[in-house]
Amino acid sequence: MNWWHINRWQTKKRDADLERELRSDLELEEEEQRDSGISGEEARYAALRAFGNPTLIREQTRAIWSWNWLESLARDLRFSLRTLRRTPGFTVIAVLVMALGIGANVALFTVVRGVLLKPLPFQDPNRLVMLYEADLYEDDTAGFNVVSGGMYAEWKNQNLSYRSLALAQDIRVGLSGSGGQLPEKLNSALFSWDMLRTLGVQPALGRDFTEADDNPAASGTVLLSWGLWKRRFGGDPAILNQTIDLDAQPHTVIGVMPAWFDFPDPSTQLWTPVYHDKPEATMLSFSNHQFRVVGRLKPGVSASQGVADLSIISQRVHNEHLNDPFVFRSAKSRPLLEHIVGEIKKPLYVLLEATCCLLLIACLNVANLLVARAAARRKELAIRTALGGGWLRLIGERLMECLLLSASGGALGLLLALAALQWLMQTRHDMSRIESVHIDGVVAAFTVGVIIICALFSGLIAAFSISDKRILGALHEATRSVGGDSARPTLRKVLLTLEVGLTVILLIGAGLLLKSYERLRSADMGCITQDVISMHLGIPDARYPTSAQRANFYDTLLDRVGALPGVDAAGFVTSVPGQGYGMDWSFSVVEHPPLPQGSGLFALSRWADPKYFRAIGIPILRGRTFDAGKRLDAANEVVISQSFAAQYFPNEDPLGRHLRVRGKDFVIVGIVGDTRYAIGETPRPVQYYPLDAGVETVGTLVIRSSHDLEQFALPVQRIVSEMDPDLPVSDVLTMNQLLGKSTLDQSFNTALLVAFATLSLVLAAVGLFGVDVVHRNATDDRNRHPRRAGRKARTGDAEGVAGWNAARGLGKLVVGTRKPAWKPASCCAICSMGSSRSIRRFMLESPQRCSQWPRSHVSFLHGAHRASIRCKH
């Protein structure tokens, strides 16, 4: 700063010096002219003629000394600051508008970069792929199928393309209470022993799994997540080699993973070896598909070569098992990153498009305000041009003004983005890779880039709206109103129309998302969603080895829960509607002729107790529910859903027919209403088997009551802990909460898009209103509407004048009255409606059709583009 003062002082001194020099020499010249006989005033003029324009000379001489560009930059800066300070209203509006636009973009870019663009934190992540089975039937193009244990083993042993293949599965385990801590249910993952080696990750503490750990004969081992280690075990390194009970099985803690490691899911808290924990039959089966397989390609092998290699193996296995209809024929792969961000990718890009729209609107808005102000400052600019102000200088000043506006907007926007990211981290900690989202150098560079682009964009529009050809006209208008000037109002109207058009597009997009979200939430789940509470519960196989123990546990539990005061009905099921796909079983109908070799039937399957249907309100359409007296091996009844009956028994009565599942025959005793396994899905056929068979051990307790639902959480927990102190009860959710949780993504995206659309509406309104006010202030609109505006002004209703103008402007934009060829806003609306059709398709169809989404958004922006072209014409 000291340097600055010295510089200022030197400049002042030099200026005074130059002034004195010029004056003395000019006086001398004047004296000489007088000596040569010219008198008085005439001598002075003659001297000036011989000397030249002192102002210009002063400027040129000063330019010699100044730090040229730096100083002129500083001068432009000072001048712009002064200009902006003189119009605080305009400045504040413009800065806020920019801050909103830039802030939204920076925040979303940060998320997109963190989640989608940053490489995975694994070693050489580009060679990692996620592998799936494919082609169950000849023309099967269904999504990404999980892999069977048997196929994985075949792939692993025979492939030549992968350095390693590793296997993972998400599960939930019960961690027993110890040291005074309650038992709890944790999200966990099964890993094959070489998973961490495949990813290239080391535990932060302790050791990785070894091949010896990963077989049924080994003693149990477990890796803890950093979070669980800190929370549950106080971050004490002595936990290594200690034993903890998982589902009543002892496991030795061999290591703790680094804090950032969250594969395969952000909520995973434990890892155990898969071959140790899973039954051998599952690991050898070719038709029991439940694993995710990660492969690391050998150097020089492409992903498609790898897939071709695996497909040959799959085809051979398929051919060897032609009698099993559920062995896939080939393999499929995609990059691991794509698998991890798969679901979040499209919505993020859509939101980024929306924020780009918002930024465009903000820029147009500021440009608009600047153009309006340029029109208002026409006289000033004309005078400056007349006095020799260079065109480039004027443009430079305008750009500097814009740069100032967008830089302060950007700074404010960065703060907004920070706040938004904070909020996002808190609300969406379930999002994959959310932990890698933070503001870094690249984001800072992006912000600076956006600021410069905004400044250039809005500045150049404004700068080129000043044409210096009509200086004289502008000067002459000193005494008249600017009402006759038509060029800039047209430009402003084009800008405003673009703004309104973009806003309309955003609004329609948001409206559609909102509508389909509402439709999603109001979808009939096939059961009641009010007055029902669900709790997750499971008994460890190890402590309840016989089917009698299991059946007894649930019978007792349901009796005791049903006896609680206020409980209308209680039931148990493996998964309730809205809880996901769950499991499916293949079956055959005993009374039907056998199917040709290689084909089979399968449907969703659930284990339920007899009172479940009543508890959750699934209507029994025909027949009855399970006979509570038939237990264990005698439990041979099955209940099917309506669509199951329609699909597999089209022209016959299913009651009394038999389904054969895993070699056992079940008689169909009832038909119940259809349900949806997930909120956006169409109802699928379901087969319900009796819980009393004592097979299944994990599921959801359902309680129906017309009283306060939350009050049941504690008594149920007490009953469970009385029956088994080591059993955790988790996920206590009312049906509405459960469904709300499963539509979190949709509601989140919808809320954001609605917010952006609202913001852009506000911006467009600011644009309409602000421009009118700025313009009217400067040009005195009363010349145009002497009677109407004058009357308003007389009543002191200044706001009314502005409001009237804004309304009139809006009316003109929408209807396009002035010139018949000018209907851009309606054209925008039509374009957006066109693009909206594809959005609607995206929202209301099943997730498999999600690929429609990006295309719809191309047309989304394309619509805006077309509209803008029409406007220009």
């Binding site: 010096d17 130059l18 004195r20 020099e21 010029l22 003395s24 020499d25 001398l28 010249e29 003629r49 011989a50 000397f51 030249g52 324009n53 002192p54 210009l56 000379i57 040129q60 001489t61 330019a63 010699i64 000394w65």
Partner: protein, 118 residues
């Protein structure tokens, strides 16, 4: 004013610097004197506006070829800003002079080749 424009343009870029340096070889002078001297010596051919001298003078000063000082004129009871040639300026003058000579000869050879033949 406009009628003098052609002459000003006619003055080659950098030539003015050389003329000023050459003028100052006679001794210190102020802006007005320098302008008058150049005008007189060229028989009023270079009717430049004196004003155009000042940017040039200040440029020379910034480059260190001349130094300036306020001094009272011997014939008038007033102070003027006198410019004096520095050693660096002298060297510069030699360089510019030789460059100019080469240039003039080169131009002459192109313009009047006949004279060469004679």
């Amino acid at each position: 004013m406009a009628k003098q424009a052609p002459q000003r343009v006619g003055l080659l870029q950098g030539t003015l610097d050389m003329l000023i340096l050459r003028t100052l070889l006679y001794g210190p002078a102020h802006g007005h004197q320098i302008g008058k001297h150049i005008q007189r010596t060229t028989n009023e051919f270079l009717q430049m506006q004196h004003g155009s001298l000042y940017p040039a003078l200040h440029r020379l000063e910034k480059r260190g070829w001349v130094v300036s000082k306020w001094e009272t004129a011997p014939d008038r009871n007033r102070e003027f800003k006198y410019y004096r040639l520095t050693d660096k300026g002298r060297k510069q003058l030699v360089t510019e002079e030789s460059q100019w000579k080469q240039m003039a000869e080169a131009v002459a050879r192109v313009m009047w080749p006949a004279r060469e033949h004679n």
